[in-house]
Amino acid sequence: MKRARIVIRDLAKTFREDGREVAAVQGATFEVLDQEFVAIVGPSGCGKSTILNMIGGLVAPSAGVVEIDGARVAGTVPLQVGYVFQKDTVFPWRSVARNIALGLEYRGVSPADVQRRVREAVALAGLGGFEEAFPATLSGGMRQRVALMRTLVVEPQILLMDEPFGALDTHTKIGLHAELLALWEARHQTVIFVTHDLSEAITLADRIVVMTRRPGRVKLVHEVKLPRPRDVIALRASEAYAHEYGAIWHVLGEEFAGPAR
């Protein structure tokens, strides 16, 4: 039995909007095991990004607890955590190579080592030839690849991903799924991946946390029983995939289609 790396207990968050208290998340409880890939799915506005931000220490919970490796997260960014944002957060004034190098520079890695690790990361992400390019000249998919490699190159043990491929077209997205899975197979980071795209969640995750509409609560935790390593393209045509999809959609669909509360 693997140990739990991330424990979320009775987590709640209320925001003030126009002087009114709005509950974004209410009593969310789940655990993420070591080296596990967990996806959080739910309709927009269900607070799934807020949960991720609370795990990452960007947002302080109104109630409840987030623990990473037994230590309570309280308003500080935990060092072993990497975060990939939905928004394009590549630094526009740094070339591709210098973007990827930044985290290593922050950590005081020697220039020679920085160079070597950046070179490896560039090759791994298929960004060869673009090392000196500035982000403004890259496509959205390439920029998100830079953001991913920039995060992975410092070798975080825990990876929080907030709809990282949300703004990309389907083809680019599926390509990046394959790359992400290959990278994950190599290192087996503990991953929490937020998305509203159920097929993305099934393709990538070991377990899927299904959220209700706002205020977000955990509706269901579903184990994805698809073998690894997964072929992201063949997978989508398989019967097992359709079975998983049906099982979750049955529950998630209620949240999309049900009457407004």
């Binding site: 990452g56 960007l58 960014v77 060092l79 955590v81 990497g82 975060y83 944002f85 928004k87 957060t89 630094f91 526009p92 004034w93 740094r94 070339s95 930044l102 985290g103 520079e105 922050y106 950590r107 500035f134 982000p135 403004a136 000249t137 953001a147 920039r150 995060t151 410092v154």
Partner: protein, 271 residues
Amino acid sequence: MTERVRVLLWRLAILVALVSAWEWLTGIKAISRTPGLYWIDPFFISRPSLVLKRFVYLASDQVRLSIWQMALSTVQSTLWGFVVGVSTGFVAGLVLGRRDRLARIFEPYIVAFNSLPRIALVPLVTMIFGFGLLAKIVLAWTIVFFIVFFNTFQGARSVDADLIHAARFLGGSDRQIMRTVVVPSALAWTFAALTPSISFALIGVVVGEFLGGESGGGLGYLIIQSLGTLNAADMMVALISLGVIGIVMALGIKQVESRLLRWRPEYRRRA
């Protein structure tokens, strides 16, 4: 003919037309006798040929203070005022831009000082710093500082919060994030203030030179002296020199800007 050449030719044509009209119209006595057009007269606006003659004279070693020495003095004071104003304005903008409480504390003082007409400070600055280089630098500084400060302040405030979060997750300390995220992000705003800053630094310096007398030298001194002797040609020499200095400095800033901001799409070299 490329676009570049076409633009250059047009610029040249306009220059030639203006200079010729100036030379030609000031040569016709009848015009200056027309009511309202009295000023189209070499006495008031000189003539290009006269200006050139005076320029050659002022550039020669027959004068005590040559035009080169005066221009050099003006350029020197302007650059000092510019450098000191930009660096202090930049640092102050960064610090207050990232420290909300400090910004709130200092806001009324900054606004009050900035709304003072700078020219009103000239006598005070002169009393304190005299007529030399230092007074002119201080005058240029009082203007440049605020322009750069306000722009950098805005720039430092509008740094994308997600970029800062991203840097924090990459392990950046406050100091590292300042250097690698806030400064480069604010620089684009600061640069927008630099070209006007050069003109304003020149204003401060020339006003200082108006008062400075011969010891201060400079083109402002030449202008005031020409007013005293009603010498329009010398005044034109000084004005044209100031224009040339302004253009050269602005071009210099553009060069630095397009190097430092080459990551921005609008500065990418056209293929």
